[in-house]
Symmetry: C2
Subunit: 221 residues, 2 copies
DNA sequence: AAATTTATTATCCAAACGTATAATTGCAAA
DNA sequence: TTTGCAATTATACGTTTGGATAATAAATTT
């Protein structure tokens, strides 16, 4: 004969906020403990609700997973593109540098994003939706990179541009992965510097000093 | 009143073979369907035994996982080192080329290895044993790469060697990942060629034509 | 203030998981 | 042939998982 067990009080929230909260909770858990840590119960607890609510906003846990993954991946590419287009100069070299540099600072290179990426990476192999999200994000980034490379002031050569885009993209991926998963293994800004130097070397160009992280923006001495 | 249910016939095997079979089954399943597909029951079925046998050879599923991961990762680095030391020439450039090239053909760059790597990648974040395996393998590879770079015929500069080793390692990682997970996205040998060209460019050297995959070994024209 | 809606909680369920243990049987030694 | 060992199978257990459904209460409307 248990006592009447008071029902947990709660607030009604808008659909948007609840969905965002649940997605954020799922991402955080995946980044911290991998996909197996992101159980329905754990996600609900992290979001401050009870498990049943997830099924009220998502048809299944899988749908929540897809939404979370898509949001994370889109945010990454969009941020790099945004930084590139925010570059004041019209110089293709400066725009490329801005694109690369944006990939190596928050909110792109963070333990959370790298963790989610790592945790969900293998899901692209069997889950068609995850595969589509991964591929479109991945190719979207690489295509944008190739377009920036093609815009460099030099004789056009699409085949060379493709090879160089693949190489630069691989270098960026590898460094992003290392820098995000072993943040203590590098000095601040070191990964970004190596990335900029590496991309420049691969392309046979030089980036202006302003593109580098520790450039004394306002100083004049 | 069920029928007496004939007991499944079986053969007794040596401990070594059974352990290897179970490890191979676990790796295959992880590569195909991720860690969540490698259940005790699935591993046993793939290895042609019943689930209980796993606990006869391993104290826990976790122990089997560790053994499988360690075997896969060790095989990778050892194969690259082997190929490097098997290089007939004493030329540091040729040895470096052999080391890089070995990372981009079987048995190093295979869907199975990349799949296992991807599937277990996030486990290094929480499981200390997996972390140790990952880190030691990873640093072992990079240190060997840095040693090969340091041996190049040019003025010594440890700081530069470190930066270049980090960059080359990232390039190799990224390309290995792409080539192994999207094998149809590249022409045969294309990934290896891009890797060799990229490493050479990053280091400011040139690899001999014999280092490349489609080099007509015996031809003289 | 009463009625209505629906966001949220609470409870239950079948399946699958890793593990533990008991029952067999293949095989080698005697 | 018989005996004994241990490799292997068979069965069962407790937990956790994602999902389904019923009960409740916080807002909004009337």
């Amino acid at each position: 004969m248990a006592s009447p067990a008071l029902r947990r009080p709660y607030r009604r929230e808008g659909e948007e906020k609840r969905r965002d909260d649940l997605i954020a909770a799922a991402m955080t858990l995946v980044a911290e403990g991998g996909p197996e840590a992101a159980t329905v119960r754990a996600i609900a607890a992290r979001a401050g609700v009870t498990p049943g609510l997830i099924r009220h906003y998502f048809q299944s846990k899988e749908e929540l997973t897809h939404a979370a993954y898509r949001q994370v991946m889109d945010a990454m590419t969009h941020e790099a593109i945004r930084a590139c287009e925010a570059e004041p100069s019209d110089d293709p070299v400066a725009r490329l540098a801005a694109f690369v540099a944006a990939s190596f600072r928050p909110p792109v290179m963070t333990p959370l994003l790298v963790g989610v990426w790592a945790g969900y990476m293998h899901l692209g192999r069997n889950d068609p939706v995850m595969h589509e999200i991964h591929e479109s994000t991945y190719l979207g980034y690489r295509d944008r990179l190739q377009a920036l490379i093609a815009a460099l002031p030099r004789p056009t050569d699409p085949a060379r541009d493709r090879r160089e885009a693949i190489a630069c993209n691989a270098l960026i991926d590898g460094l992003w992965l290392e820098g995000g998963s072993l943040p203590d293994g590098f000095a601040p800004g070191e990964v970004m510097r190596i990335a900029l130097d590496g991309v420049a070397t691969l392309l046979g160009i030089r980036f202006p000093a302003e593109a580098y992280p520790d450039h004394p923006e306002g100083k004049t001495d």
